[in-house]
Symmetry: C2
Subunit: 339 residues, 2 copies
């Protein structure tokens, strides 16, 4: 009845990070020799099996797919899960969902747990912290050992695997162009910090479209938000002293928050300010005014991810290095928040 | 590399339901002898291990908790998951989430998969279909074999285990009483069909409170909705020809839908009609008018569920038959949708 030793426990005992333990056990050159020796000796003493991916390969065909997402209280990710479920069930696969809470350590631990004989492959959207660190050794390791992987939405160039993304730059361009077409002259952007890949790409789409239309770029019209906690206050402060007549927000929450800030400042939506969001959440449809959005098609992204993964699993050729990137096209859904 | 035989495959091969296979392998008196013999012989031939709960007990301490929820695109359930995650991580447990999609078969299959060595115990909110059938053999089986179980929100009396529920009757009573207190004379109820336990209890709270206040009960003022698919249309039809001045809806979606139907009929919220929902979703806070609600405290329900389960796991006494029911108290949050 003795609990299994986990990465986390080794890290705690030796007072090093989970990432250090994980890398040391894989002989990464990033870790000093002394540390590696110490960690390996400790793991051996307690009979720790480094991430049993190889083991699970032998017993492949659990007929289970693991999804790791950064957040659960977020409509987009729940629609992706629905999409994965739909295709997976059709093809006789079960689905397990884990949360990384945007934490690098939790992402590594989740992968360790799921690879441990529970799943045949992964569908992952990266944690914010993972992208910030730029540390993808846990993903590379899974791929190296033949565990198929699909990255969706928050994907990175550093990892070569199947990917399902949307045309973020083009989608943001559509939103910005629409604001220009309906006569907006001073267009603001509410985005996330740049290390979140989709935030960066959507910012790029906004900038490119302004340039293409010979609009000057005003850095003061761009707000980059780090966390959700104080986003309402940040957005209110951003909007109050600017004379924006158009706002493009990279998610649903920011867009709704922007509308409320505009209304609070005594202006009208869409008469004085037009607002476009990036989402296909329920809130956008139900809100008054209903929200004009660049539609993300979360369900379709989930379906495509499941199809790619299952295709790879059933081909069952570990040497197959033929990776696909599926780009799900965004669409502009016009509703009442724009003129 | 041969795939494991699953319950589902046996059911398909023998052209019987998953429930029949599951019960036959457990020697249930509900299944005829012939059928049992056939199913058992088939399972033996293919070396199927009936639900490896007993097996997993030996290897107990996966330090993983399995959550099975009916729906994922639903704010309440995502807040419960957050709550479970929070306590579980604090205590060094991982969390795996599975969806039943409100299907009995999927619930049984999910339990089979998770009990198969992946988890130490379950936190479950029952599928609609399970409650409709009243078939809880899969839950009873888990308990009989010493696999701890916590039911939350959609719990049933038939299963004796730890439970976390809210005071649905009292909560619905608070909403109804508030509508009466602010002067509503003709109060409508938008609920779910009765076999969903929480819908039934909230209806009971509404009825009891009307009676206590000597209001007559008008069956025409009660709408019971089966699925979400056509709920908007049903609610619109329900509201249009009635002279309601107060509406209590048992979830967020129904409440928002009711407000939109009232507005569409040319009346005002809250001037002509006051509306109360049952939720603590984001939408209620962000909607204009913001929604007066009976707060469900999903996060706290998740936290309490995780605490109960982990307590039982760490006591590690399979004979322990001391079960608790924690009732999370609801609160009335007054906002702009009521006078």
């Amino acid at each position: 009845m003795k609990p299994k030793l986990t990465l986390k426990q080794i890290a705690k005992e030796l007072e090093v990070s989970i990432s250090t333990v994980s890398k040391a056990l894989r002989d990464s050159p990033e870790i000093g020799e002394d540390t590696k020796l110490k960690i390996k000796a400790f793991a051996k003493l307690y009979n720790y099996k480094p991430n049993n991916i190889a083991l699970s390969l032998k017993n492949r065909k659990t007929k289970t797919i693991g999804i790791i997402i950064p957040e659960i209280v977020h409509h987009f990710f729940t629609t992706v899960i629905s999409g994965v479920e739909h295709v997976a069930n059709e093809k006789g696969y079960n689905v397990l969902v884990c949360l990384s809470d945007n934490s690098f350590d939790k992402e590594v631990l989740n992968m360790e747990m799921l690879a441990n004989g529970s799943t045949d492959g992964f569908i992952i959207s990266l944690a914010k912290e993972t992208m910030q660190k730029g540390d993808y050794h846990h993903l590379q390791e899974a791929i190296n050992q033949g565990m198929p992987l699909v990255l969706f939405d928050r994907a990175v160039d550093e990892i070569i695997c199947d990917k399902v993304i949307i045309d973020d730059i083009i989608g943001a361009g559509k939103a910005t162009q629409h604001l220009i077409d309906i006569g907006c002259k001073n267009i603001g952007l509410i985005s996330t910090v740049d290390y979140v890949s989709v935030g960066k790409l959507r910012t790029e789409g906004y900038l490119k479209t302004l340039q293409k239309n010979n609009f000057s770029i005003n850095e003061a019209n761009i707000l980059k938000i780090e966390g959700m906690e104080y986003s309402d206050e940040e957005i209110q402060k951003f909007i109050i002293d600017k004379d924006l007549d158009g706002i493009f927000a990279v998610n649903e929450h920011f867009a709704i928050s922007a509308i409320k800030a505009v209304l609070a400042s005594g202006k009208k939506v869409p008469d004085d300010v037009s607002v476009i969001g990036f989402t296909d959440g329920e809130l956008s449809k139900l809100f008054i005014p209903s929200l004009t959005v660049v539609s993300q098609h979360g369900t379709r992204m989930g379906e495509e991810s499941a199809r790619l993964l299952i295709e790879k699993l059933e081909r069952n050729d570990l040497e197959d290095e033929n990776y696909k990137t599926i780009i799900v096209e965004t669409g502009l859904v016009k509703r009442d928040s724009t003129k």
